[in-house]
């Protein structure tokens, strides 16, 4: 049972990271550096609760705020680059973050039962004893519930964003930036905003991760994490906010399901990812599937057809 609780909690945190990459992919930017923002969120929120003794909620918010500021700061100069160049720049950014925390010493020393321990980031040793949740009576199950709740709210938020004019403008930028610019869309500010939002969601994922596992270090947030975040969206599909979740489900299912074949696992893992991209090049949920689902829903409920008809009449 504990195994499934841990699996679901970690998968939900991964899904948050996927959603953070998704927001950027809406604007046509594929980032492989979202783990850099997760790392900022994890360290910032961890320091706030473990070193400063803050409540968890403001600590997470602080991490998100710090990450958003960094996101806007790196997003703005990154506006002009896309594709492979942005991918490399985002990786470089995350590596800088990792190097910084590897040299970050900011801890308090406490003695518990005769044992001296350092609470806070201790350079390359990492950041131990982020015990807020377990000091406040949370169990593995309640943490899972909290993480799932946060994920549900985030999915809802991203879905609402996607269906707002702002979100559709981001998609317009992603589809054809020149046309967006020439249609009066402020490409620079909206893309910067996407960087900021992506950074916020990644920081939330990082903060939750740190408090769930009580330990983070520069070795936790590696390029593998950042690559997977983008991979969830590319495999799950970016047509809908549920795409990244399906991506996580897919990766988790093959990652766990292949355990019985032991050392062949990584090989099969790679093969299945390639197969999924061949079968569904635009992801599991692509625009075509979404369009068909929409038609099914419209046919089932005849939603807003009278109103559409009224508008059609007005138009004639």
């Amino acid at each position: 049972m504990d195994y499934y609780v841990a699996l679901i909690t970690l998968a939900a945190i991964q899904a948050l990271l996927g959603l953070s990459a998704h927001v950027l992919i809406l604007a046509g930017r594929v980032s492989f550096g979202q783990h850099g923002f997760a790392l900022i969120g994890a360290y910032m929120a961890g320091v706030a609760t473990a070193v400063w003794g803050w409540h968890l909620v403001p600590a997470l918010l602080l991490g998100m705020l710090a990450s958003a500021l960094v996101g806007v700061l790196v997003g703005f100069p990154a506006l002009r680059i896309r594709g492979v160049y942005l991918a490399v720049a985002s990786i470089a950014f995350a590596e800088i973050c990792r190097n910084l925390v590897q040299n970050l010493n900011y801890y308090r020393v406490e003695t518990v039962g005769g044992l001296v321990r350092k609470v806070g980031p201790v350079g390359p040793e990492g950041f131990r004893h982020i015990r807020y949740l377990y000091d406040h009576g949370f169990t593995q199950e309640t943490v899972m519930a909290v993480v799932l709740g946060v994920l549900a709210l985030t999915v809802l938020g991203v879905w609402l964003l996607d269906h707002s004019r702002l979100g559709r403008r981001l998609r317009a930028i992603g589809e054809d930036e020149l046309a967006a610019q020439m249609a009066g869309i402020n490409v620079a500010s909206l893309t910067t905003l996407a960087f900021g939002l992506g950074a916020v969601i990644a920081a939330l994922a990082g903060g939750l991760y740190a408090h769930y596992l009580t330990f983070v270090s520069h070795e936790v947030f590696t390029l593998f994490t950042g690559t997977l975040a983008a991979g969830y969206v590319l495999v799950g599909g970016s047509a809908n906010a549920l795409g990244p979740l399906l991506g996580v489900a897919f990766f988790t299912a093959i990652g766990e399901g292949l355990r019985p074949i032991r050392e062949y696992r990584i090989m099969a893992y790679g093969a299945l990812i390639v197969a999924s991209i061949l079968v569904r090049p635009y992801g599991i949920i692509d625009h075509e599937l979404l369009g068909r689902l929409r038609q099914l829903v419209a046919a089932a409920f005849l939603r807003s057809e009278p109103e559409a008809k009224a508008m059609g009449d007005a138009a004639r």
Partner: protein, 253 residues
Amino acid sequence: MLRVENLSKRFGGLEALAGVDLALASGQIVGLIGPNGSGKTTLINAVTGLFPPTGGRVLLGDLDITRLPSYRRIRLGIARTFQNVKLWTRLTVWENLWVVSEPGRLWLRLGRDWERERRLAETLAWVGLWERRHDLAGSLSFGEQRRLELARALAAQPRVLLLDEPGAGLSAGELDQLTGLLEQLRSQGMAILLVEHVLELVMNIADRVAVLNFGHKIAEGTPSQVQEDPRVQEAYLGRRSSEPVVKPDDAKP
């Protein structure tokens, strides 16, 4: 409405525009023609702010917009289409319009703006795409995509419309349809700049025609004046001024 004064643009050693003057009034269609590479699209790009001009000014009404970023120019009432249609193919037909209507307005708003939606519905119906509003823009035929691009340009309620070869690739029937639409827009007071290779379209509906060649404006006048201008014939056909008047078909690229 729109005035271009002494506009120049250099790309390295290439002078794409060399001091071009052009004026565009409300309720007027001005045709802009010229051989390939004569600077027609460069002019539209400079007016819409895709790149800064090397010299000269662009005025919208009395406002000097030469140095404004392009999104602000568009919000002031300039709209354009592209030579090779540029739609957001994975947004629906409706969303292509919805996204750009009132681009300057804050996006935070609860509920729907019925007034705006009714106006967009009218625009879509006007170009004959209302029935296809839920389809992805990429699924439309080429002619439909051209019409959608025109509708998208109108969605932001511009005062000046810059059309970059709207007739390219259209069938004869579609060209007639386009002519009708443009005439209606003119009667509503729109200022339209029509950059076109299909000379028939320009000669049919333009009030005035300007001719560019190697970045210089070599002629301007009514369609018939321009057709008879020997410099124009030379630009299109080469130097043999004993040749007959430029026929639209001969001038196609």
